[in-house]
């Protein structure tokens, strides 16, 4: 099963969206990498910045509109029109988070702490920060640096490295 000739040594993961599924895909992959002894560098940009913005990080939601895979419990259809009702998005997101908690998947801030505890590094995109008028102080304290795309690519060199765009 394992390919011992060219083992993966480093992953550079880019998260550009701020929904639960996009952010958690990123966090699970980054944490999974450090748990396997693989170096992980995570770059948050555009709406993905919500995941590392103090005010937003634990309030991320999943889209109940424009999400055809969205179903009610039991697999029942979930008409998009229901998704526009105030409170539905929050309710659905709370349900998703509680199902994750049962599987021992932590809230965003704690998940990020787990990744950095293992040596993973968290970065923010300068361009997106300028666009959203965010300052370094608005970000989670352990964000290592605010980078340009060039800075990011400079970190992604080396044998056995992969760039992953969630």
């Amino acid at each position: 099963m394992a390919n011992n000739e060219n083992p993966l040594k480093k992953v550079c993961i880019i998260c550009a969206k701020g929904t639960i599924e996009d952010v958690y895909a990123t966090l699970v992959m980054a944490n999974g990498a450090v748990m396997e002894g693989i170096e992980a560098k995570v770059f948050f940009t555009f709406f993905g910045l919500d995941a590392i913005t103090k005010k937003q990080m634990n309030k991320i939601k999943t889209a109940t509109v424009g999400n055809p895979a969205m179903r009610a419990p039991g697999g029942l259809p979930f008409p998009t029109i229901l998704g526009i009702i105030p409170g539905v998005e929050a309710g659905v997101s709370a349900m998703m988070k509680s199902s994750m908690e049962k599987l021992d998947i932590p809230p965003v801030d704690e998940f990020l702490e787990m990744i950095t505890a293992g040596g993973g590094e968290i970065y923010a995109c300068k361009l997106a920060m300028d666009m959203f008028k965010l300052e370094k102080e608005d970000l989670w304290d352990e964000v290592k640096a605010v980078l340009t795309v060039g800075d990011f690519y400079a970190m992604c060199g080396g044998e056995g490295t992969q760039i992953i765009f969630t």
């Binding site: 699970v28 944490n31 999974g32 450090v34 748990m35 396997e36 002894g37 599987l103 021992d104 998947i105 932590p106 704690e110 702490e113 787990m114 505890a117 293992g118 040596g119």
Partner: protein
């Protein structure tokens, strides 16, 4: 499955070196497995191994988060004890199956 002699004791291991039967485990086996990975086991290491063995016996799914909340050590400490494999290596040394969880 193969037979292997670890710390003078014949045990059954799978192709990744995990014990097939957790009851064949001993502290000496753990120490020798760890030495192969360049780790000298301390009392703290053994506390983690015992925790993992007890949790597995109860049928719990193991995660590093659970070990981090065990009161033995935090997650950073867990990485320090078992570098590059906080759950994978510790499970191996504890004589339990390779963890099947993603966190």
């Amino acid at each position: 499955m193969a037979q292997k002699t670890i710390a003078g004791q014949a045990v059954d291991v799978n192709d990744e070196g995990y014990l097939v039967d957790a009851s064949q485990w001993s502290r000496e086996i753990a120490a020798e497995m760890a030495k192969e990975e360049g780790i000298d086991l301390t009392d703290k290491h053994y506390e983690v191994l015992e925790f993992l063995r007890n949790a597995t016996e109860k049928g719990e799914t193991l995660t590093i988060r659970k070990v981090g909340k065990s009161g033995i050590t935090d997650i950073k400490g867990l990485y320090a004890l078992f570098p590059k494999g906080p759950l994978k290596l510790s499970s191996k040394f504890a004589g339990i199956p390779k963890p099947a969880s993603c966190v």
